[in-house]
Amino acid sequence: MAASSDRIPPPFPATEEPGAGPSDMADGDSDEGEDIFSNPMAVSRGVSQPDNVNEEPPDLFSEEEASSTTVKSNGVHSDDDNDLFADEEAHVELSTDTPGSSARKELSTSSGPHPASSFTRSPAAMQPTSLEQLEEEESKDSFDVDVAVTNPEKIGDGMNAYVAYKVSTRTSLAMFRSKTFSVRRRYSDFLGLYEKLSVKQSLHGCIIPPPPEKSVVGMTKVKVGMDDPSSVEFVERRRAALERYLQRVVAHPSLLQDPDVREFLEKEELPRAVSTQALSGAGFLKMINKASDAVNKMTIKMNESDTWFEDKFQEVENEEQQLRKLQAVVDSLVNHRKELCGSTAVFAKSMAMLGNSEDNTALSRALSQLAEVEDKMEQLHQEQAASDFFIFAELLADYIRLLGAVRGCFDQRVRAWQRWQEAQSTLQKKREAEAKLLWANKPDKLQQAKEEITEWEARVTQHERDFDRIGMTVRKEVLRFEKEKAKDFRSQIVKYLEAMLQSQQRLVKFWEAFLPEAKAIA
């Protein structure tokens, strides 16, 4: 695995020596507040730190997955939980064996090193397995299905009008009818797909990505006319959200296999989804909350033998809360940015007027130039506002919805537990009934009772198995979700930054063009 250690990142200013390995293992929880320069360094020097992961607040970027190699790691857990760039897969089978301890600990028992951080991991044997693991996971993750939602088109007129989108698919998977194809779908079709998937898959503990919410106000404006800027923005916002929704669905290994998904992507004409009336923004939320209500009404508190679920649920709730808070501030940012656009435009006009008034010729020209620069600034601010909104705000909205879905699947697991408990208590009752019958000596009824007992024993076993299975799925789903989330946030932030970069560079050009004008004043 020398090859992997060759891929050491280009030197950053204060790159430290990699020899820090073993001593670092004694370190406490690595600070989440590592700056950008130390994170890549952390990778390059492969600092190992013990996994005091229980106390860590959820990190948008960390991916808590570890390889399930059988190689012992002498108690050293993956440092990559703190590392932005950790990417080690979890194999859930490992986790169910050790009750009472944090699942993260279990999952990261043997931490395959990060490719570039290989050299500080003393057990050299760990290295080969982790890379294999990585490759395995890579192939698992590349589904080779690309979907796009484009070309919004208003069909019809008046209150019956709707917007049809082109859904294009490009794939190499055999299960589809061809390599590239497209269909036209409307919003209610997307909702219909979501409903079908929820009904089927949530019972298994899957995290079903939710589509964007209905908006009566938004749609009414569009029905009336699609030309004004707010309608255009609404349609574009919805198109982008639908695209992200679909991309998340096909990125999910189990959901992709679902025939409804295939039908959605392939079939020319879909039967009109009628029950989507219930799935307005409020309706979908209601569905989630129904599950939580059932959980809350439980008189028997679930005896959690595995604190991983409790801890994770708490994390999810906290994160959702923080994201909502963040969303509120970002909304404020977007509004203020729009205000800035307005006040800059107004100021530019005022400057132009002042320039006209000015009697010194050179100064007059400079002031007019300043007015033009401010006009260009307004344009920049507009673009920045769009970036703020479409990249940042929408990202937050997506993840608030998704976290709701995550909570939903946790609740499904609790429901499964409930069903198991209920079956057990019914079984208990049946056994008591049998005992009574034995006492009362009624042979024919006894036979029936025995049959019922056998039936319920089977049911109990089934429910127990379901519960275990759903638990495993939830675990897997959550870990996958976290990985996707980290990737998603990172790529969106990069996009946001690139837009900002462009904007700043143009700003420099504008002012550099103005400077000689200012200097020419005499």
Partner: protein, 384 residues
């Protein structure tokens, strides 16, 4: 702020500055420090404590002084206004429970910085006022100016007396009348005709621009504040890279806001007030012209009635002299004002453009570093 009015405080015979100031509640106490080689002063180097009201007293007495009617009296410094940061501090205190400790601390720091900026600004604006006076050939010799600089007792008593004496005469006069007066007179002098037209128009335009610039810089400040909240919330989500990005973007935005504020808005605001002072000069000259015209009429009347002719003649001469003196002095003042204004605008605009470029470049570097860090890490993740 220093670049707002250039070429001040170069004459070593009288150097004035405000080296420090104290803020007690709402009252700011300025330490006015004078260094002089002039024999008219008792000591060569001394300091006195002064309040804002003392500056206003000085300004008003200068305005009321007949001898200075032909001069542009430097505009009085505006009252120290801590309203904005104080209000924000109050709001912050109210909302303390709803935010994290870190967010609160950050916001508090920002407010303290804002408070400090207001403080610095007010010190500078008072300083510039004094320096304008000390660099003016006539005004620097003013007796009241000397008292202001030297008198080591409280000026409060003098201030009260002054109020009683003048009753704020000029100030209480209906100012709006001056526009009508100025535009109404028949102007014989081309120079003043042009100046009148120019100044009236320019004043309204620059007043408008000042207001719009203030609004724009407020928007910038709001955005900077939003970024504080964002970075605080991101911190609690433990998203390190983005926190740094937003903190640095916020700092850049905040810096842009304060620099734009400082350069452009201050420039506009200062010259708006200066132009008002120039307009006041035109008003006084217009008044003198009216007096002269009236004295002419009175002389004609006296001649007709053959009564009190010598007094009327004398009065007319006096009015003419006064008018001529004002015109001559006024022309000089307005010409140098023009030059001063152009130079100040040039300096400010250059500095502003340079700052914008600098900050954009810094921001570009920061953004580039963070994003390349992120992109590179992403590549690492997907590498086989």
């Amino acid at each position: 702020m220093r670049s707002v009015s250039v070429d001040l405080n170069h004459d070593a015979s009288l150097l004035i500055d405000i080296p420090d100031a104290l803020c007690e509640r709402d009252k700011v106490k300025f330490t006015v420090h004078t260094k002089t080689t002039l024999s008219s002063f008792q000591k060569p180097d001394f300091s006195v404590p002064r309040q804002h009201e003392d500056f206003i007293w000085l300004h008003d007495t200068l305005v009321e002084t007949e001898d200075y009617a032909g001069l542009i009296i430097p505009p009085a410094p505006p009252k120290p206004d801590f309203e904005s940061p104080r209000e924000k501090m109050h709001k912050l205190g109210e909302g303390e429970a709803t935010m994290t400790k870190e967010e609160y601390t950050k916001m508090k720091q920002e407010l303290e910085a804002e408070y400090l900026a207001v403080f610095k600004k007010t010190v500078q604006v008072h300083e510039v006022f004094l320096q304008r006076l000390s660099s003016h050939p006539n005004l620097s010799k003013d007796r009241n100016f000397q008292i202001f600089l030297e008198y080591d007792q409280d000026l409060t008593v003098r201030r009260k007396n002054a109020k009683e004496m003048f009753g704020g005469f000029f100030k209480n006069m209906v100012k709006s009348a001056d526009e009508v007066l100025i535009s109404g007179i028949k102007e014989v002098d081309d120079f003043f005709e042009q100046e009148k037209t120019f100044l009236l128009d320019y004043y309204s335009k620059i007043k408008d621009s000042t207001a719009k610039a203030e609004k724009m810089t407020r928007s910038h400040k709001n955005i900077a504040d939003d970024y504080i909240h964002i970075s605080a919330t991101l911190n609690s989500l433990s998203a390190d890279d983005t926190t740094i990005l937003f903190v640095s973007v916020q700092k850049v935005e905040g810096r842009v806001a304060s620099d734009q504020e400082l350069k452009l808005t201050e420039l506009l605001r200062y010259y708006m007030r200066d132009i008002q002072a120039a307009k006041d000069l035109l008003y006084r000259r217009a008044r003198a012209l009216v007096d002269y015209e009236n004295s002419n009429k009175a002389l004609d009347k006296a001649r007709l009635k053959s009564k009190d002719i010598p007094q009327a003649e004398e009065h007319q001469q006096q009015c003419l002299q006064k008018f001529d003196k004002l015109s001559e002095s006024g022309k000089k003042e307005l010409t140098s004002f023009k030059g001063r204004r152009v130079v100040a605008f040039r300096k400010n605009l250059i500095e502003m453009a340079e700052l914008e470029i600098k900050h954009a470049k810094v921001s570009t570097v920061v953004v580039y570093l963070v994003s390349s860090g992120l992109v590179w890490s992403q590549q690492l993740v997907t590498f086989k």
